[in-house]
Symmetry: C2
DNA sequence: TTGCTTTCCTGACGCCGCGCCACAAAATGA
DNA sequence: TCATTTTGTGGCGCGGCGTCAGGAAAGCAA
């Protein structure tokens, strides 16, 4: 039994090793660039062995995406438990988003693979559930803050909008902006020179638009954001490094 | 010379035919499902002939994407020239977005291929320029409305936000929401049951947040949107069918 | 019509990568 | 020590991309 456990740990370790090898390839050269033969060669194992760990290439990609989603979730959790009114906690989530895109860029890119139709269709029930669960948890964190705001009368929702649908709006702004920033052919030539700044402004404006108390002028909002970032960033880095450790172990 | 022209027209016609054949395959089965052999077989031409028209699969995909982007651009142009205050014209663009996603769903999906790294990297300068130009025109249309609003004192922009960066916000909301709607594993289970409604609310709230005159309560906004849709939809359909004609000819 | 040139079309071929599977090696256990 | 199970191997079939030598057709001149 002890022997078996050792063996199993070896296998788990190798699974992690596969991901460690695949990760930079996927990031640098995309889905096409990542090949099973290449991973096998680099690991100095046979291809069949890789297939003992992952039934296909898509599962490797999703496994990497899950790691990245988990990192985001942990950043969200950390941000959501700070002290202060709901609006401030909402802003802390914004600061987590900023951190994630700016300092965990690879993770941000990896995370996107779950939105690829072809990959999703070929993946296992198990991976799909992991992803749905992680997405659900993230939603629960943010929606929880919205509900707090409603309960404490800091916010009143329009009739036909659920708390989750409010979250959806901020999700869309952040996600949409970032994808556009990454993939739009030459955003600057369209006149968009500081997308990060624009995201902040739009989020602030939307919060104000919903009359989410305490009302905050834009300049004040930026001050608060900066101080949140300053307060939380060390802990963000800690989480990121922790994940890196786990990944490289 | 006349003879040459006939030949050239034949070739152009075949180019269009290739796209016509490739389109449903790409939509139904994605990039993997689309194969040059398959297109060739279905056209009853040899594979080499297809390669006389397009240097690789990626170019076919981008050509399809360009067609779809052009349709969007024409919808935008149509919407932008209605009478009324800038805010109403902005809303008309929103109605065009709604129409595009709801009734030109295939085009919306095709359009996304330009954001695929692998495809972009393999494509020709020429296609890339077509895409950039189309994106630039769309931006110019919307930013033009924003500038009108500023000129007529209906809107004052924050200090650090350019008109294009304001557009960026609405772009992100619409684009982000729609991508999330299409690709998020089971949005309803996250509590998002009516994303289209949510998009409208968020856009209205953002416009109000920027204090874009005339101020419009949400109920009023929905009324106006509905009447815009009713007014413009026949013309949207006309444009869509026109494009279909061109594509199938 | 004939013969020459150019333009266009063809499909077999080389190459690569996925995923399978029959076999080999190693671990386990009696 | 040998039988059984578990784990690892790499060659193979398949299918898709993009090429290219050669063949067919069209243009053109006499």
């Amino acid at each position: 039994m002890v022997e078996l456990t050792r063996k199993q740990r070896e296998i788990e370790k190798r699974t992690a090793e596969i991901l460690r090898v695949a990760r930079p390839i996927l990031i640098a050269e995309g889905f096409q660039g990542l090949s099973m033969d290449r991973v096998a060669a680099q690991m100095e194992y046979a291809k069949g062995t890789i297939y003992n760990h992952f039934p296909n290439k898509e599962e490797i990609v999703l496994a990497l995406a899950v790691e990245s989603m988990e990192l985001r979730r942990s950043l969200f959790e950390l941000s959501s438990i700070i002290d202060g009114p709901a609006r401030l906690r909402m802003m802390a989530l914004g600061s987590a988003c900023e951190f994630f895109t700016q300092h965990c860029t690879d993770d941000f890119v990896l995370e996107q693979w779950v939105r690829n139709q072809g990959i999703w269709d070929k993946s296992s029930e198990k991976s799909q559930n992991l992803i749905r669960e992680c997405e659900g948890r993230c939603m629960a964190i943010v929606a929880g803050i919205v509900c707090d705001a409603i309960d404490s009368n800091e916010l009143t929702l329009p009739d036909t909008l659920s708390p989750e649908e409010l979250v959806f709006g901020f999700w869309a702004i952040n996600y949409g902006s970032q994808i556009l920033t990454f993939t739009s052919p030459s955003l600057p030539s369209l006149g968009i020179n500081n997308p990060a700044n624009a995201i902040r402004i739009h989020c602030c404006t939307l919060l104000n638009g919903f009359d989410w108390q305490p009302y905050m002028a834009q300049s004040r909002y930026f001050q608060e954001m900066d101080s949140l970032i300053e307060r939380l960033q060390p802990r963000y880095w800690a989480l990121k490094n922790e994940q890196k450790q786990r990944t490289n172990a």
